[in-house]
Amino acid sequence: MSAIIEVKNLRKSYGPAVAVDGISFTVQAGECFGLLGPNGAGKTTTIRMIYGFTPRESGTLQIFGTDCDTAWRSIKARIGVCQQEDNLDPDLTVRENLETFAAYFDIPSALVNERVASLLQFTALEGREHANVKDLSGGLKRRLALARALLNEPQLLILDEPTSGLDPQSRHQLWSRLDDLKKRGLTTLLTTHYMDEAQRLCDRLIIMDQGKILVEGAPLDLIQEHVGKSVIEVVAPCADLRGMLTEKGILFEDLGQRLILYSNDGETLYRDLLADHCHEGCMLRPATLEDVFLRLTGRELRE
């Protein structure tokens, strides 16, 4: 496997505020790599530096094995980007959006028709090609944004919160399109606030906070390492439960009215709890990436 993105000691600050504080990571060819973190963690700044929008302050950045300072134009020609904000061209129709964007990449017009047709089909936008972008729903806009990002047949796809604000149908549709792209070997870098999305899509991911990387790894490995196999949530715990858990050395988080227990042998613990301590308000569930995320970044509001 060869590295598609190699980031070393990447740093960016805005005045006294450090957005990205010397991070390093590598994305391999064919991987789906996730950047997770609370608002203000530095995710968007990081990917903006990668696709050449935001200038780096320091650190090195290699994409496709080439230095981004010298070969930036040819690198940008091989990257497809879906930015966080809707920036489709509202003055143009669906088809015109794609054609105009293809021109920014200098794609020969003979190829454009072919690619537009296949992308309209891929994103299920056939029949809407003459619709005005202003009249599209959020889900349709996202699909068009994805089609637009694929026009240049990128070797790296960058998605900044691709499913924010979408209904479940649209999310699942987009995920299955991303699965298709992955099967074709496309390398993807994405940011998201949805842990189920990251767990479903990402081969590896990093969790960032305050400009630094907290952890890096495959979703299941991270869950195993930081949370364990299962989680028990106890609502309105009885008085002696905390003492018992501390005594037994069981890892738990105390939210006052709710205890969150992390365990590798959740079923035994769950049975014990039901038998001796709690008769109701106790729930056993598999550990998720969200548990990892909240354990590592805390539960306080960020903004």
Partner: protein, 260 residues
């Protein structure tokens, strides 16, 4: 991305705007066709009746023929200035069109160049349409009047650069009213548009000679009436200087605004 990155790809930005313009040409064509008619009716017929004729370049000139080229100059100024202020601001701020472009191989230099050239193009289109109307009234002296088209491009370029510098620095779209109120409106009135500059006191004439519209009006009048002379070279040079000086400010200003 260090240095000044401008390739011929700026044409793609121009083409994007041209494509949108083509979709709404019926609306875009109306102002340059109708405005001269309104002005000619008000100033030419109404006011012209009182004024009669005045002396321009040592020759007696009918008032309507005197102001007709100024109407073209005003249209050149407004077409490009409004394009690179309000229209560009909407694309930049509300539609995020420039953000989307910056994720492609396009550079900020190419985007701003494309926008400015599009502003100048709108001046040329407006001029061509006005020329049709004014020719109909016999107010243009051909073939000299054909020079109005390159003059429109040059003037359009200068005012497009002014507009883009404004767009780069204003905090909100409402703030764009300030340069209109302080710069565009006074020029509209005091650049030798509706009366000769030598009717003004000497100090005011001195100021007027630094206004770009004064030079644009001068070039339009000389072309339209077929009375070109050496002094026009100064006006051409002056507008070129405005464009050349302001263009780098437009690019650096927009870079500061967009690339964070």
């Amino acid at each position: 991305m260090i240095g000044f990155n401008l390739s011929k790809r700026f044409i793609r930005v121009w083409q994007r705007n041209y494509r949108v313009y083509r979709k709404t040409w019926m609306i875009s064509f109306a102002p340059p066709l109708l405005e001269p008619l309104f002005y000619l009716a008000a100033f030419g017929v109404g006011l012209g009746g009182l004024v009669g004729s005045l002396s321009y370049g040592g020759k007696s000139t009918d008032y309507t023929a005197y102001i007709a080229p100024a109407l073209i100059a005003i249209n050149i100024m407004q077409s490009s200035f409004f394009e690179t202020t309000f229209s560009s601001f909407v694309r930049m701020f509300y539609q995020k069109t420039f953000d989307a472009m910056l994720a492609t191989p396009l550079t900020i230099e190419e985007i701003i160049t494309g926008e400015i050239l599009w502003g100048a193009t709108k001046s040329v289109i407006g001029t061509a349409l006005m020329m049709i109307i004014l020719t109909f009234f016999g107010l243009l002296h051909f073939p000299h009047a054909l020079l109005l088209l390159p003059v429109a491009f040059l003037g359009g370029l200068a005012f497009a650069c002014v507009g883009m510098v404004c767009t780069a620095v204003v905090p909100t779209i409402e703030t764009l009213n300030l340069p209109i109120f302080l710069f565009i409106t006074p020029m509209f009135l005091f650049s030798g548009t509706f009366f000769p500059l030598n009717n003004l006191p000497a100090w005011a004439q001195g100021i007027a000679n630094f206004l770009p519209l004064t030079h644009l009006v001068e070039l339009c009048r000389a072309s339209a009436l077929g009375r070109l002379d050496v002094s026009n070279v100064i006006s051409i040079a002056y507008l070129v200087i405005w464009s050349v000086v302001l263009f780098p400010f437009a690019v650096t200003g927009m870079r500061r605004r967009l690339v964070r």
